[in-house]
C-alpha cells in the first residue's frame, strides 16, 4: 500500500469530529488553492513562486 493510500485509510477510519488537529490541518490544506491541473512537474514550478494561486500574506 502506498504512503498516500495508508494516510487515506488511517484518517478515513476516524470520524471527522475526532480528527486530530494535525490531520485536520492536512485535510484543510488539501483543499486550499486547488489547481485545475498540476503545473509542470518541476518542483520550482508549483504553487509558490511559479504558477501560484497563493498570495503573499497567506500565512497571516
Amino acid at each position: 500500500m502506498s504512503v498516500a493510500e495508508q494516510a487515506r485509510v488511517v484518517s478515513g477510519e476516524v470520524p471527522k469530529a475526532r480528527l486530530g488537529s494535525f490531520t485536520a490541518k492536512v485535510k484543510a490544506s488539501s483543499k486550499k488553492f486547488p489547481t485545475a491541473r498540476a503545473f509542470n512537474n518541476w518542483h520550482a514550478a508549483n504553487d509558490v513562486g511559479v504558477g501560484s494561486d497563493c498570495p503573499w500574506g497567506t500565512t497571516n
Binding site: A4, A7, G20, A44, A45, V48, S52, W56
Partner: protein, 369 residues
C-alpha cells in the same frame, strides 16, 4: 498541452550564491527579442497548444531592465493573447525590486517568487553578492514592496547545512511573523553546483529529518501557515489532484528553455548545465529549427523515451510515487548518470521523508483519538 516557456534571458547574476546550479553567472550576454518572438509564434502555430505560461528564471532576469519585460509582455499580448493566455512568472533574488517594478508586476499580473533563505545569519551564509556583501536587506525590502502592491507570489528558501544548524522554529517564525507563504528546496549537487558547496548529504539525513519534522509540527499547529511542500503533499494525499499520468508533464518535457544565445531545449530547467555538455544534442537554434519539429528528431525522441522510462520506473517501484510524481529528471541525471533511473538523494532526504512524516503524524493522532 500546457506549455511553460522558461526564459534564461542572461546568464549574469548580481549574486554569487554558494549553491547555485545555474552556469556561467558572470557572462553578461543578453537574449535577443527576436528569439522570444520566434518561440511564441511557433508555439501558437501548433494545434496542440492550450495555454502558454512564460517564466523568467536564470541568471538574475531583472538585470535585463524593465524595458525588456515591457517589450516581452507586449509581444506576448500580440502573439499569444487571450487565446492561449497563461501566467507571467518571475523567479528573482529580489534585490532590484523598487516601486516602479512592483507597480509593473501588479499591473501585468505577474507571479513573483523571491529567493530568501530565512533569517539574516542563515541567508548571508550563502547568498552574498560578488563582493561578498550581504543581500539580505535589499531582498527583504523587495518582498515588502511586492506585498504592499498586492503582487502574487511567495518566497523560495534553500535549506542547507547552515540552515539546519539552527532550530527549525527560527525559520518558521521568520516567514510566519512576516506573513510570507514559502516553499523550500534542499541544496543539492546539481548543475554548476555539482561539487556540492553547502549541499546536504546522506550523512545529514537524521538531522534533516528531525528539522523537517519540527517544521511540519509548526506548520500543522498553525491554521493559516503555508509551506508549499507540505501543502502540496496534503493535496496529493487528500485533495482534488489530477492523477492522469501525462509522462511529458511528469518528466518536465512540456517545458521549453530559451537561453540568451538563442538556443533552446525541452526539459527541466535545472538541466541547463547538461544541455551545454552531455545533453548538448538536445539544444537547437530557434531561428533555424521549429520547437515542434525538434520533438521528432532522434536526440529528442531518445531523451523522451529515457525520461518516460524513468518516470515509469518510479511509478512501478516506489510507494511514494503518488506524493512525488516521478522524481526530478535533473537530479536523476546528475546523480545517477541517466534520467532513466529512480531514487536520488533529494528523494531520500526530502520527498520520501516528508511524506513519511506526514503519515506518521496522522497515524499518531489516530491512535490517540
Amino acid at each position: 498541452m500546457n506549455l511553460l516557456v522558461v526564459l534564461h534571458p542572461t546568464p549574469f547574476c548580481n549574486l554569487n550564491c554558494s549553491y547555485c546550479w545555474a552556469p556561467d553567472r558572470q557572462n553578461t550576454s543578453k537574449i535577443d527579442l527576436d528569439s522570444i518572438r520566434q518561440v511564441l509564434e511557433q508555439a501558437v502555430a501548433d494545434a496542440r497548444l492550450d495555454r502558454l505560461d512564460l517564466c523568467w528564471l536564470t541568471g538574475e532576469p531583472m538585470m535585463m531592465g524593465i524595458d525588456h519585460f515591457k517589450a516581452v509582455v507586449e509581444m506576448y499580448e500580440q502573439v499569444v493573447g487571450d487565446a492561449h493566455r497563461g501566467r507571467f512568472v518571475l523567479q528573482t533574488n529580489g534585490t532590484l525590486i523598487d516601486e516602479r517594478w512592483a507597480e509593473f508586476f501588479k499591473d501585468k499580473n505577474f507571479t513573483v517568487g523571491v529567493s530568501i533563505d530565512g533569517p539574516q545569519h542563515i541567508h548571508d551564509a550563502q547568498r552574498l553578492n560578488w563582493s561578498g556583501r550581504s543581500t539580505f536587506d535589499k531582498t527583504l525590502t523587495g518582498i515588502e514592496l511586492l506585498k504592499r502592491h498586492g503582487v502574487r507570489g511567495g518566497a523560495l528558501c534553500v535549506i542547507t547545512k547552515a540552515t539546519i544548524a539552527y532550530p527549525a522554529d527560527d525559520l518558521f517564525a521568520f516567514f510566519a511573523d512576516r506573513g510570507i507563504a514559502w516553499s523550500y528546496l534542499i541544496a543539492a549537487k546539481i548543475g554548476a553546483n555539482k561539487d556540492g558547496g553547502p549541499a546536504l548529504t546522506v550523512d545529514d539525513k537524521a538531522n534533516l529529518t528531525a528539522y523537517l519534522s519540527r517544521l511540519m509540527d509548526l506548520w500543522g499547529s498553525s491554521e493559516s501557515s503555508y509551506i508549499r511542500d507540505f501543502d502540496q503533499i496534503a493535496r496529493r494525499m487528500f485533495g482534488e489532484f489530477d492523477e492522469s499520468e501525462d509522462f511529458d508533464n511528469l518528466g518536465c518535457l512540456d517545458i521549453l528553455n530559451l537561453s540568451a544565445d538563442g538556443t533552446a531545449f525541452w526539459g527541466n530547467p535545472e538541466l541547463m548545465s547538461a544541455a551545454y555538455s552531455s545533453l548538448n544534442n538536445l539544444r537547437f537554434l530557434v531561428s533555424k529549427t521549429s520547437i515542434w519539429e525538434v520533438r521528432k528528431t532522434s536526440p529528442y525522441v531518445d531523451f523522451e523515451i529515457l525520461t518516460h522510462q524513468g518516470v515509469a520506473r518510479c511509478r512501478d517501484s516506489c510507494d511514494y510515487f503518488e506524493t512525488c510524481r516521478g522524481g526530478n529528471p535533473a537530479h536523476k541525471l546528475y546523480e545517477n548518470g541517466t534520467v532513466d533511473s529512480t531514487s536520488h538523494l533529494t528523494c531520500e532526504l526530502n520527498d520520501k521523508t516528508i511524506a513519511s512524516l506526514m503519515l506518521s503524524k496522522i497515524k499518531a493522532e489516530t491512535l490517540v483519538a
